[in-house]
């Protein structure tokens, strides 16, 4: 029965189930056309076929008349295990021999006539109906078959959907990999070109490792600083509540000392940060924009400290007043000296980098170029020292202020300074969130 063999491979299992020869879909089946019990054909085989529809080959083979018997026998084995098919109305329970016998009949009569129309599955449907009406008798438990079939159909559909989605995902992933690969080769090419042009890439000596190390240092400092700031706020709040609740001097002193000791911590952090990534510290990217705007040499201006305190420190004794004035003056002078040193550094870099060897005559003079770069490098190394000195200046200014003032005055001073900075940070947030237009 070549016709049967032809039909199955061309139909999807879906279609096959719906347009099965043996079961005419859920809606098509007309109980009126039901066949007599005695002449029933093992229709259950169709549902078994639908169960097995994921394996089209089996179905295809089963359609073939020659394999039909074996298919049915296989179906029997299968069906005996499946609950939904196990109804009294299914013929295969009644006995295999009967089913086989009838199938044979079917094959002889109905199927033979059907063969002409089996190429198109739609035709098969209606013709099948006619054929079956004429020939073989099929008894079927419609509802059970329908739900069973529906369940399996649904399951199959879901499987197909899942498979399709997974295929799409795989495709997307592969595309992503491909584009990343392209990007990587592009970057490598750019790097190669840059190296050939003799651009001195400091991290090039240690590969990409150098860049990642300094990146990590910057990140590490940012995180440590954020932790420090949180702790600082907590200590300041304690100090504030202590001052407001009119604590005794000795208790207040403990609070003040803890804030001062905590300031020691941040200067240690900054010292590590400067050694690890001086440019990051200098950039002030670890501060908010408004803070960054007013910073000098990697931190707050020590001369500003006393200006911020203003007359919050009053009343001061004459000695204290003199001490504060001297501190104001000396911090200003030290700050100016460091600034002028930095200017000299920049001028030296300008002189080095704009020197004659980089002119029109000496494009290929690598030795000169490298020696100038070496000088520039040593100049740049003093940057760390300047940042270090600036931090020392800040730290010492704070400590001297603490020495001059009484405990209560120092508490007030620390609160004022801290509030100023937190307001500056709040200002940054407001500024960043301001409505444009």
């Amino acid at each position: 029965m070549q016709s049967f063999k032809a039909a199955a491979p061309h139909t999807t299992p879906d279609m096959f189930c719906h347009s099965s020869f043996f079961l005419r879909g859920d809606d098509d089946f007309n109980p009126a056309n039901a066949f007599h019990h005695d002449d029933s054909v093992d229709l259950s085989s169709s549902s078994i076929f639908s169960l097995k529809s994921s394996n089209v080959d089996v179905v295809g083979n089963s359609l073939h008349y020659d394999a039909f018997n074996t298919g049915i026998r296989a179906a029997e084995i299968v069906s005996s295990g499946t609950g939904c098919l196990d109804t009294g109305q299914f013929m295969y329970q009644k006995g295999t021999t009967l089913g086989n016998g009838h199938i044979e009949n079917w094959g002889d009569s109905g199927l033979a006539d059907n063969s002409q129309q089996t190429d198109t599955s739609t035709d098969v449907d209606t013709d099948d109906k006619n054929q079956l009406q004429h020939g073989a008798i099929i008894t079927v438990d419609q509802s059970k078959l329908k739900t069973g079939d529906q369940k399996t159909l649904r399951r199959l559909a879901q499987n197909r959907e899942a498979a399709r989605k997974s295929r799409l995902r795989k495709k997307a992933y592969v595309q992503q990999l491909e584009s990343s690969r392209l990007r990587l080769t592009q970057l490598e090419q750019e790097l190669q070109k840059a190296r050939q042009q003799g651009i001195f890439i400091a991290s090039g000596l240690s590969g990409g490792h150098g860049l990642s190390v300094s990146g990590n240092a910057a990140l590490a400092f940012d995180m440590d600083y954020a932790h420090w700031l949180n702790e600082h706020q907590r200590l300041i709040n304690d100090l504030r509540s202590g001052l407001n609740s009119h604590l005794g001097d000795s208790e207040l002193r403990i609070l003040v000392e803890s804030v001062m000791a905590h300031y020691d911590e941040v200067f240690k952090l900054k010292s590590i940060g400067v050694k690890a990534d001086a440019f990051h510290m200098l950039s002030g990217m670890w501060k908010t924009p408004a803070e960054r705007c007013f910073m000098r040499l990697g931190g707050f201006r020590s001369s500003e400290l006393l200006k911020i305190l203003g007359n919050h420190l009053e009343p001061l004794t004459d000695q204290q007043l003199m001490g504060i004035c001297n501190l104001q003056q000396s911090s200003q002078q030290a700050e100016d000296a460091l600034s002028q040193g930095m200017e000299a550094l920049q001028q030296a870099l300008v002189d080095t980098l704009s020197s004659a060897c980089l002119g029109p005559t000496a494009c290929g003079n690598v030795a000169d170029y490298m020696s100038q770069m070496a000088i520039a490098m040593s100049k740049l190394a003093t940057l760390e020292n300047f940042l270090h000195q600036a931090d020392l200046l800040r730290h010492q200014t704070l400590q001297q202020m603490h020495r001059i003032l009484t405990t209560r005055q120092a508490a007030r001073a620390l609160l004022v300074f801290s509030d100023y900075n937190s307001r500056l940070r709040a200002l940054s947030s407001l500024w960043l969130a301001r409505p444009r237009n």
Binding site: A344, L345, L393
Partner: protein
């Protein structure tokens, strides 16, 4: 007191060519003036420290080690004296060692530098 941009205080050229201990030479030079700074002309931190003293109205005596024939030895001696590098800038006041930039700045902030300068006669009220 106006600080000249050209010359830093008085530069004393050495006439004696005795092969002496560089440290001895340093100490001798240091005691000859109220404020003595050993420096290197290309060093930016040395520039900063010079500006600091100038800004205070002090006129320091500066020895540029890179312009001295025995500068290298003196630099090494200073490194041993200080126990760290860089050797410059280093400041002597009243013949006594004060230290490098951080020590000078710390003493200025904590208020001990000015009395020291007055004591050595480098500053008048």
């Amino acid at each position: 007191m106006h600080c000249q941009t050209g010359s830093w205080g008085s530069y004393v050229p050495t006439t004696r060519t005795t092969v002496g201990d560089p440290l001895e030479r340093i100490e001798r030079l240091a005691s000859e003036n109220a404020v003595v700074i050993f420096s290197i002309s290309s060093c930016c931190m040395c520039h900063a420290i010079k500006r600091l003293f100038c800004g205070m109205g002090v006129n320091p005596t500066v020895y540029e080690l890179d312009q001295d024939p025995r500068g290298k030895d003196m630099e090494k001696a200073l490194m041993r004296l200080l126990g760290s590098s860089p050797a410059v800038p280093v400041v002597f006041i009243g013949g006594k060692l004060v230290g490098t930039m951080d020590r000078v700045m710390a003493s200025h902030i904590n208020g001990t530098l000015v009395p020291l300068l007055k004591q050595a006669g480098a500053l008048w009220l």
